[in-house]
C-alpha cells in the first residue's frame, strides 16, 4: 500500500459516467492507483471514516460524484449556540437554528429547543442531532410515566437528573450537551446544565454549544442578578447573536422559549431582528 500525495488524480473523478478508464475498472493495479488518488484528494487522509467512504464508492464501482463539502459519513451536528437564563418566576431558553453536516448547512431553521414536559420543562440540545433527539424523547417518556405514577408533574430537577443519568451511563457513546430548564411550583424557574461527561449543575444562566466559546466573556460581563423577563430576553438576543456572528456552525434564526407559571411562550427572531455587532 503505497499512498502518496504526488499521485496524479485520474480525470474520471467528476460527473462523467462514460469514463473509459477511471472509476469503473476494478483490477488490483488500478484499484491501488485509485486509493492513491483518493488519498490525495482527501484532506483528512488517515481519518478512517472519510477514507472508508471513498473506498466504498470505489470498491463498489460506484460512479457517483459527490461535492467535496458533502460527506454523509459525518453525522448531522448541532454546531450550536444554546443558552438559558433564570429570572424571578421563570426562565428563558434560546438557541440558534443551524444544523450542519460538516460545512454543509443541512437545516437553517431547525428547532433545538425541545419540550420535555410541556409546557413547563424544555431542553436546549447541542452535539449530535441524533443523540440529543433520542435523549430528549427518552427523558420525555420517563417524565411522563413518572407524572402518571406520582399524579403530579415532574420537577425540572428530576428531568435534569434523568438527562444526567442517561448521558453519564452512555458517555462513551454519546455526543450530547444539554441545557434543561423550566418552571415548577417548588423551586420556580431553574436552569440545569448537563455536560458531555454527565456533570449536572444548576446555574443562574448557562451557555452551551460551539458558539458559546465566543461569548463566555461577554456573558460574564453583562449578566446581572435579578433581571426580569424582558432583560433576560434582551441578554439572550445580544449574547446569542454575537455567537452566531462569530461561530461558523451557528446561525440562521434565533428561537426562544419563555417558561413561567402561566405556561410557555415561543419567540422567533429572524436575522434582521437581531442586534448587530461590529461587522469587521
Amino acid at each position: 500500500m503505497s499512498r502518496s500525495h504526488e499521485a496524479t488524480i485520474p480525470p474520471a473523478r467528476g460527473f462523467s459516467s462514460s469514463s473509459g478508464g477511471g472509476l469503473k475498472t476494478s483490477t488490483p493495479a488500478s484499484l491501488e492507483l485509485l486509493y492513491a488518488a483518493a488519498a490525495a484528494s482527501d484532506p483528512f487522509e488517515g481519518i478512517a471514516s472519510a477514507m472508508s467512504f471513498t473506498k466504498h464508492l470505489l470498491m463498489h464501482n460506484c460512479d457517483v460524484w459527490t461535492p467535496d463539502w458533502y460527506n454523509p459519513t459525518q453525522d448531522p451536528q448541532l454546531g450550536t449556540t444554546i443558552m438559558a437564563v433564570e429570572y424571578d418566576g421563570g426562565v428563558v431558553l434560546a438557541a440558534d437554528s443551524r444544523t450542519s453536516t460538516g460545512t454543509y448547512v443541512a437545516n437553517r431553521v431547525s428547532d433545538k429547543i425541545t419540550a420535555v414536559a410541556p409546557p413547563y420543562i424544555y431542553c436546549a440540545r447541542s452535539g449530535s442531532a441524533a443523540d440529543t433527539q433520542m435523549l430528549a424523547d427518552t427523558v420525555r417518556r420517563y417524565v411522563t410515566a413518572l407524572a402518571l405514577e406520582t399524579q403530579r408533574p415532574a420537577t425540572v430537577r428530576t428531568a435534569a437528573a434523568l438527562f444526567r443519568e442517561l448521558i453519564y451511563q452512555n458517555k462513551s457513546r454519546l455526543t450530547a450537551g444539554v441545557i434543561c430548564a423550566g418552571w415548577d411550583p417548588l423551586n420556580g424557574g431553574q436552569v440545569y446544565s448537563i455536560t458531555l461527561g454527565g456533570t449536572l449543575v444548576r446555574q443562574p444562566f448557562s451557555i452551551g454549544g460551539s458558539g458559546s466559546t465566543y461569548i463566555y466573556g461577554y456573558c460574564d460581563a453583562s449578566y446581572r442578578k435579578g433581571m426580569n423577563r424582558e432583560a433576560c430576553i434582551a441578554f439572550c438576543q445580544q449574547a446569542a447573536s454575537l455567537a452566531m456572528a462569530r461561530d461558523g456552525s451557528s446561525g440562521g434564526v434565533l428561537r426562544m422559549v419563555c417558561i413561567e407559571e402561566s405556561g410557555a411562550q415561543r419567540l422567533l427572531f429572524t436575522e434582521d431582528q437581531l442586534p448587530r455587532g461590529w461587522q469587521g
Partner: protein, 272 residues
C-alpha cells in the same frame, strides 16, 4: 384446624368456593395477635406508635424495635411478625434510595406505599411463597401535601388513613380514634392520646409488660423522621398510668376487646 379451610387453605394459589384466599386471611390473623400499633396523621405531622410487648425480662430496653426509619422523611411501624416487617422495611429503603438516585428527589410516600403494596401482593400469588405476616404503617412527609399515613396489608392492598390501629388492642383503640378531632390534633397531644389509648386497651392482670415506642415526622422534627423524645413518652405514659381507671373505656370492655373479636371496619379512612 381440620375443617377450617377444608383443603382450600394450603396455598395462596387456591381460592375457596366462596372466593376467599385463606392463607392471606391467616396472615392478617398474625397481625391481629401483635402488640397494638397506632398511626395518626395530625395537622403538623404524623405519629407512629407501637406497644412493644416484653415477654422476656432479660431483654434490654430498646432492643427489637418495631418502628424504623426508611428515608429522611419516611418511617415505618410494623404490626405482626417482626422479621417479615423488617424485610418490608429493607425493601422500602432500597425503593427510596433507588428513587432518589434516579430522580434526584425524595420518594413521595404515596408512591412508596404503592410500590410496597405491589411487592406484598406478589407474595399472595404463588404456591412457593407465603404472604407477609405483617401490616405496615408508613408515615411520611410529602413535599406538596404535608404529613400522610399509608397502610399496606398482607393481601397487597394499600390505603391512606387519617388514623389506623391494629394488633391486640385494636378494637378499643379504633373506638377511641373515632372520637378524635383530626382537624385540630397536634403531634404532641396525639402522643398523649396514644399513651392513653394503649394503656386503656390493656388488661393489667393478664397482659405482658410493654415498652412504648414512638416516632414522628412533624414540624417539631423539621419534617424528618425522629423518635419522639424519651421524656415526652415517659411523661405521657406516667400521666395516664396515674389516672384512676375509667369504667366506660378501660377495664372490662378492654379485656373483651383483646379476644378474638372480628375486625370491624372502623378505621378512619381518607378520601382518595
Amino acid at each position: 384446624m381440620a375443617g377450617v379451610g377444608s383443603g382450600y387453605d394450603l396455598t395462596t394459589t387456591t381460592f375457596s368456593p366462596e372466593g376467599r384466599v385463606y392463607q392471606v386471611e391467616y396472615a392478617t390473623k398474625a397481625v391481629e395477635q401483635s402488640g397494638t400499633v397506632i398511626g395518626i396523621r395530625c395537622v403538623d405531622g404524623v405519629v407512629l406508635a407501637v406497644e412493644n410487648l416484653r415477654g422476656v425480662k432479660l431483654l434490654r430496653p430498646d432492643s427489637l424495635r418495631r418502628i424504623f426509619a426508611v428515608d429522611r422523611h419516611i418511617g415505618i411501624a410494623v404490626a405482626g411478625i417482626g422479621p417479615d416487617g423488617r424485610h418490608m422495611v429493607g425493601r422500602a429503603r432500597s425503593e427510596a434510595q433507588n428513587y432518589r438516585s434516579v430522580y434526584a428527589e425524595e420518594i413521595p410516600p404515596s408512591l412508596l406505599a404503592e410500590r410496597l403494596a405491589s411487592y406484598a401482593h406478589v407474595y399472595s400469588l404463588y404456591w412457593h411463597v407465603r404472604p407477609f405476616g405483617c401490616t405496615i404503617l408508613i408515615g411520611g412527609w410529602d413535599a406538596s401535601q404535608g404529613p400522610c399515613l399509608y397502610v399496606v396489608e398482607p393481601d397487597g392492598s394499600g390505603y391512606k388513613y387519617r388514623a389506623y390501629a391494629n394488633g391486640k388492642g385494636r378494637t378499643a383503640v379504633r373506638t377511641a380514634l373515632n372520637k378524635l378531632n383530626f382537624e385540630q390534633l397536634t403531634c404532641t397531644s396525639a402522643v398523649q392520646e396514644i399513651a392513653r389509648m394503649i394503656h386503656q386497651s390493656r388488661d393489667i392482670a393478664k397482659d405482658k409488660p410493654y415498652e412504648l415506642e414512638m416516632a414522628w415526622i412533624s414540624e417539631a422534627s423539621d419534617h424528618k423522621f425522629a423518635r419522639v423524645p424519651g421524656a415526652l413518652v415517659v411523661s405521657s405514659r406516667q400521666a395516664v398510668e396515674e389516672e384512676p381507671q375509667q369504667m366506660e373505656t378501660g377495664g372490662s370492655t378492654a379485656s373483651a376487646d383483646r379476644g378474638e373479636t372480628p375486625s370491624t371496619s372502623t378505621h378512619i379512612m381518607e378520601e382518595s
